[in-house]
């Protein structure tokens, strides 16, 4: 496992794609900032959309990081040099988690910079507003989307081992992120008798991004904060486990 992790880190840091991911995050956050002439407190608390942009970026990067082994036909060498194929899979997952954490940090730093440039001292980081101060809201939102990153990376890994087509994985990922929550709410309101079960569907897990800082989102997800956190983690474990089995069993 240690050797696999070393190899995967080596490969990842020698690629341009982590840099492009960072640049994409900067550009998209700037877009969020400038597209609103007067950024609201909520936009700042959400890190100028960092969570939303980051989940999209991570889907693309995570699936590419697995797909490249099939595209470059390096999967055979990786497999014959390792007895433990799971170690390769988990090493890749850990590298993505580390990258996700660094990107979250970049999102935080950029939020501070953009706030200073765009609104100056209009909203104080420490002033209480609603449930928390602006700083706490930002940190809680960051924690929320990091939990969701676990879920979304696991989904990306599962999909790429299943269909091996990068573009399709990104497409499905976008559908999950942008339409999942609305579709889930729609189904729950259409079938209220089954909402106790439907609320646990994987599309509903996206609400964790906002629910960390804002408990009013419970009325959309129908899940309490601990429930939605556990739901995300359990789904992540299930997807990782299925993805790992597929990864090991696919013929190379």
């Amino acid at each position: 496992m240690k050797n696999s992790l070393k190899q995967e880190l080596y490969k990842f840091r020698h690629q341009r794609i982590p840099l492009y991911g960072g640049i994409a995050l900067v550009v998209l956050m700037l877009y969020s900032a400038v597209s609103s002439s007067n950024p609201s407190r909520m936009l700042i608390a959400q890190g100028f959309g960092a969570g939303q942009w980051l989940t999209i970026i991570m889907i693309a990067i995570a699936s590419t990081f697995v797909a490249m082994e099939y595209q470059n036909r390096t999967i055979m060498t990786l497999f014959y040099k390792n007895s433990n194929k799971s170690a390769i899979y988990f090493a890749k997952f850990i590298v993505m988690l580390i990258y996700g954490a660094l990107m979250s940090l970049l999102g935080l730093v950029l939020t501070f910079v953009l706030k200073a440039v765009m609104v100056g001292s209009k909203y104080s980081w420490g002033a209480m507003y609603g449930q928390h101060s602006l700083l706490i809201d930002l940190l809680l939102n960051t924690a929320g989307f990091y939990i969701y990153l676990l879920f979304i990376i696991a989904v990306a890994f599962l999909l790429i081992t299943l269909i091996r087509v990068n573009a399709a994985v990104v497409g499905i990922g976008l559908v999950i992120i942008f339409m999942g929550a609305e579709f889930s709410s729609l189904v729950m309101s259409a079938l209220p008798h089954f909402s106790a079960i439907i609320k646990w569907n994987p599309l509903n897990m996206v609400f964790v991004i906002n629910q960390f800082a804002n408990s009013s989102y419970e009325k959309y997800s129908n899940l309490s904060l601990p429930q939605i956190i556990i739901g995300n983690l359990i789904y992540a474990v299930i997807f990782i486990a299925i993805g790992d089995v597929l990864f090991k069993s696919r013929r190379v």
Partner: protein, 295 residues
Amino acid sequence: MLRVRHINTFIGRKKIIKDVSFQVNPGSIVGLIGPNGAGKTTIMKTILGLTKFTGNISVEDKNVTENNHAALTRVGALIEHPAIYPFLTGLENLKLYSLDEADMNNIVSMLKMDTYINTKSKGYSMGMKQKLGIAIALLNKPQLVILDEPMNGLDIEATILIRQIIKQYAAQGSAFLISSHVLGELQKVMTNVLLITEGKIIVDEPIDEFNRVSRQQYHLLTEDMPATEKLFAENQIPVTKSDDYLVIPHELSYQVQDLLYSHHIRLVELSPQGLSFEQTVVSLLQQQRRQNHEK
């Protein structure tokens, strides 16, 4: 070294490799020959623990299974295409697997890759990629090297170089299992022939033996052919005439030479005749197909 016993490999429900057994000894260069779809690459993948199989595979008496590749620690391989990350330089690709930097640098020099080893491999030509793939297979002083079509994309100079390197490694004790469609190239290096068709091994023997069997006759030309014919008739040597030559059986070649020498008849030419290596392979494959058809 490598021992393969009664392996059967399945892809889905189809049996691709059928009860195959063979052995590769240290220092030997085994040529795995067969038509497209015969199962050459599948055998190689099976040895590397990449497919489900029944039977037994061992390297240095350690078993290889689908989930235990400990025995493959000192096995290098190039299967189908070079396994190269385009965003890494050639040297970085090698570093990923290398355990000995001096050995790695030596391989780079030996393969004459010094001029481009520090540039990104995405810009490499097919031949350069192939050389890098071979370099990865030769890393860490392997006991066994498995090469699937190693001469693909190589120019004539690189082909000669690779041939020399294979011989050099074999002389130091590394064993090779090589498949190639270019039989002429294989013939120049291999010490043993494994001929496979429809998932079965039909020939497994040293190259000298293979050549000897395919060359059963000799053409003979002497300075005095009438005297030679008379001499053979007196000594009941069975000969036939072919143009200006006499054709003698392979097993009588030494006896004939002694006889001519004792009667002071000088040899002009004594050459083995028969099917070429390629012709022999094709003939064996056709023979096997006929047998399968009759069944």
